[in-house]
C-alpha cells in the first residue's frame, strides 16, 4: 500500500521532518535526522525512477481529487531522474556537512541550519515532481527562501549582502513566474500542466500566451542564472558555507533548468516555443555568451570558490545550448549534463570545502603548495577539474561528446567551436590551481595544516569517484537521459 503513496512521501517527508528538526536542540541530532530523511528521500526517488522506467508515467492525485481540480503529481522518467539527482547530491553533501558546518556555523544555529536544508530539499523535490503550474511556484519559493537563509549563514559578513542580493533578484524572478502562471490561467482557465498542454496549441497566436511565455522564460532565467541574469550567483556561491555551496551549485540551478525544459517541451510544446517565439535564437546567443564569458571571467578570479561559480555560469550555458537545439539529441545532452555537472561541481566544491576547513580560506594565493600537504584533497580537485574540462574516462567527457554529436546533427558546427573553446578556457583556470597547488611552496606561517579528516574526504571522493564511474558506465546517466529526452520530445 505504501508504495502507492511514494510520490507524496517524496515531498512530505522532508517537509514534516523540517519542524521536527527545529525542535531538536542538539546540532548532531538534527544532522542525524536530516541525513536519515535525505537518505530515505533518495531511496524513494530510486524506487520512483525504477517504477517510471517500467510504467512510463505515475500519476498521483492529492487527497483523491482528480486533476484538473485537484493537484496531481506526475512522475515520469524525466522528473524521476531529477529527483534522484537532487536527493542523491543532498545525501552525499550532508555526510560532508556535519564537520564542515560545525566549523562554520555557531552551535546554537546548527539545528536551524538543518531545518533550512530540509525545507530547501522539500522545495527542490516538489518543483521537480509536481504537475501543477501554481504548485511549482510555491515550491520554488520554499526552496528559494530557505536557500537565502542557508547562504546568509556563511562565516563572512559578505554572505549577508550576497544573500540579500539573491533575495532581491530571486524574488523578482519568482514574481515573473507568478505573473506567467496568472496569465496562463487567464487564457486557458487551468493550472494543470497536462491540461495546459492540451489547450495551448489552439491558442498559438494569442498575445497573452506569448507574454506568459516571455515572463516565464525570464523568471526561470533568473533562477537558473542564465547569462546575463547570473549576477546573484558568484557572490552567493562564494560566501555561503562550503556544504551549502556544493548543495546549491549541484541542485538548485539544475531544478530550474528542468522546470524550464518541462514548460518548453511538455506544456508549451516545441512548436510554440521555437516557431511562434524566437526562443532558439535567444538560447543560442545567451548560451554561447555564457560559455565564453563565464569561462573567461573564471580565469581571472583570485578565489577558488568564485572561480568555480563563474565556471557554473559557463556550464549553464552548455545546458542552454543543448535545449536550444530542440531535438531529442540536444535534450539528451542537457539532461545528461545536468547529472554529470551535479557530480563534478558537487565534488569540486566539496574538495574546496576540505581546503577551507583546514586553511580557513579559499583564496588562490593561500593554496600554494597544498598539493603536498593535502594530497588526497588536491587529487580529488584535479580529477573533478579534469571532468569539468571533459577529459575522456570522466563524466564530463560523456556530456561534451553527446552535446557535440547533437550539435552536429543539426549541422551547427560553429557551436562545436564554442564548446571546444569553452573546454580550453576550462583547462586554463583549472591549471592555475594545479600550478599553485603543486609548483609553489607553502607560504611562510601557513605550514601547520595537514590532510583533511576522513569524514570530509569520504563524501568528496564519493562524488569524485562517481565522476569516473559515470565516465565509463553510462547506463544510469546517458541511457536514462536518452529515455527521458525521448519522453519529453515524443509525447
Amino acid at each position: 500500500m505504501i508504495l502507492n503513496q511514494l510520490p507524496a512521501l517524496q515531498v512530505t517527508l522532508p517537509l514534516i521532518a523540517a519542524p521536527l528538526c527545529l525542535l531538536l536542540r542538539s546540532g548532531r541530532a538534527a544532522w542525524l535526522l536530516c541525513v536519515t530523511v535525505s537518505t530515505i528521500a533518495l531511496g524513494i526517488a530510486l524506487l520512483l525512477l525504477d517504477e517510471a522506467l517500467e510504467k512510463g508515467l505515475i500519476v498521483y492525485d492529492f487527497g483523491g481529487w482528480a486533476a484538473p481540480w485537484g493537484i496531481e503529481y506526475r512522475v515520469d522518467v524525466v522528473n524521476a531522474f531529477v529527483l534522484m539527482i537532487v536527493s542523491g547530491i543532498s545525501t552525499s553533501v550532508l555526510l560532508f556537512a556535519r564537520i564542515s558546518a560545525a566549523s562554520e556555523i555557531d552551535d546554537d544555529r546548527q539545528s536551524l541550519f538543518y531545518t533550512a536544508w530540509l525545507l530547501c530539499l522539500t522545495g527542490l523535490l516538489g518543483m521537480a515532481i509536481t504537475g501543477d503550474a501554481f504548485n511549482l511556484f510555491v515550491f520554488l519559493e520554499i526552496s528559494s527562501l530557505s536557500s537565502y537563509v542557508l547562504i546568509a549563514m556563511g562565516p563572512d559578513r559578505r554572505a549577508l549582502t550576497a544573500s540579500y542580493q539573491y533575495l532581491i533578484m530571486g524574488t523578482i524572478g519568482a514574481t515573473f513566474i507568478l505573473i506567467a502562471v496568472g496569465l496562463l490561467y487567464l487564457v486557458t482557465g487551468t493550472l494543470n500542466m497536462a491540461d495546459l498542454a492540451g489547450r495551448i496549441p489552439d491558442l498559438a497566436d494569442n498575445r497573452t500566451l506569448r507574454a506568459a511565455f516571455a515572463f516565464l522564460t525570464v523568471g526561470m532565467g533568473l533562477k537558473l542564472a542564465l547569462f546575463p541574469l547570473h549576477l546573484w550567483l558568484p557572490n552567493a556561491y562564494t560566501y555561503a558555507p562550503s556544504a551549502v555551496t556544493a548543495f546549491l551549485a549541484a541542485t538548485a540551478t539544475k531544478v530550474a533548468v528542468y522546470a524550464l525544459a518541462r514548460f518548453m517541451f511538455s506544456v508549451f510544446g516545441t512548436a510554440f516555443a521555437f516557431d511562434s517565439m524566437p526562443l532558439q535564437l535567444i538560447l543560442v546567443v545567451l548560451g554561447t555568451a555564457a560559455v565564453l564569458s563565464g569561462s573567461t571571467i573564471a580565469i581571472f578570479q583570485h578565489n577558488v570558490k568564485r572561480m568555480l561559480a563563474y565556471s557554473s555560469v559557463a556550464q549553464i550555458g552548455y545546458l542552454m545550448l543543448g535545449l536550444s537545439l530542440a531535438t531529442a539529441a540536444g535534450l539528451t545532452a542537457t539532461l545528461v549534463h545536468l547529472f554529470n555537472h551535479a557530480l563534478m561541481k558537487g565534488g569540486l566544491f566539496l574538495a574546496v570545502g576540505c581546503m577551507a576547513y583546514r586553511l580557513g580560506t579559499t583564496r588562490l594565493a593561500d593554496l600554494a603548495g597544498i598539493g603536498f600537504r593535502m594530497p588526497w584533497t588536491t587529487a580529488a580537485f584535479v580529477i573533478g577539474g579534469l571532468s569539468l574540462i571533459g577529459l575522456p574516462l570522466t563524466a564530463g567527457f560523456i556530456s561534451k561528446w553527446v552535446l557535440v554529436q547533437a550539435v552536429l546533427e543539426n549541422g551547427w558546427w560553429p557551436l562545436v567551436v564554442v564548446i571546444v573553446v569553452g573546454a580550453l578556457l576550462a583547462v586554463i583556470y583549472i591549471w592555475r590551481i594545479v600550478e599553485t597547488a603543486y609548483f609553489r611552496t607553502v607560504s611562510e606561517g601557513r605550514d601547520d595544516f595537514v590532510e583533511a579528516p576522513l569524514a570530509l574526504l569520504l563524501p568528496t571522493w564519493l562524488l569524485i569517484g562517481a565522476n569516473i564511474y559515470f565516465g565509463i558506465h553510462t547506463d544510469l546517466s546517458l541511457n536514462v537521459a536518452r529515455l527521458a529526452a525521448d519522453f519529453l520530445t515524443g509525447g
Binding site: 527562501l145 537565502y148 544573500s163 540579500y164 524574488t171 496568472g182 490561467y185
Partner: protein, 117 residues
C-alpha cells in the same frame, strides 16, 4: 470595452513599474524591499482582477444568485501573499543583520567597506 474600462490593469502596470524602478534605483536596502512589495502587490491585483466576473456575486451559494465571481485566483493569491510576507520578513531580517555587521543600510557604503578590505 475601452481602455479606460480596464483601469485596474492600468493600476497593475503602474504599480509594477513603480516597484521595479524602486528596486533598481534605490540605494537603500529597506527601500528596495518596499519596492519589491509594490512589485508583488501589483501581481496580487492582477490575479484578483482576473477573478472578477461582471455582475457576479461573491462565490457563496445563495438562492436567487446565478452568476458568481471565480474564487480560484483569490485563493491562489492568498498563497502568494503569504509567500510575499515571508519574503519581506526574511529580507528585513537580513537588512537588520547587514546593519549590525556594516553599521549602515546604504548599498554604496557597504560596497565601499567591502572594497577597502
Amino acid at each position: 470595452m475601452n481602455a479606460l474600462g480596464l483601469y485596474n490593469y492600468w493600476i497593475v502596470i503602474f504599480l509594477m513599474m513603480t516597484g521595479f524602478y524602486v528596486v533598481i534605483a534605490s540605494g537603500n536596502l529597506v527601500k528596495k524591499i518596499i519596492g519589491l512589495n509594490l512589485f508583488q502587490a501589483s501581481v496580487f491585483i492582477l490575479y484578483i482582477s482576473a477573478g472578477k466576473v461582471s455582475g457576479g456575486s461573491a462565490p457563496i451559494l445563495r438562492e436567487g444568485i446565478e452568476s458568481y465571481s471565480n474564487p480560484l485566483p483569490h485563493v491562489l493569491i492568498l498563497t502568494a501573499i503569504v509567500v510575499g510576507v515571508a519574503t519581506t520578513a526574511l529580507g528585513l531580517a537580513l537588512v537588520v543583520r547587514i546593519r549590525e555587521a556594516y553599521g549602515t543600510a546604504e548599498e554604496d557604503e557597504i560596497h565601499r567597506q567591502d572594497e577597502s578590505l
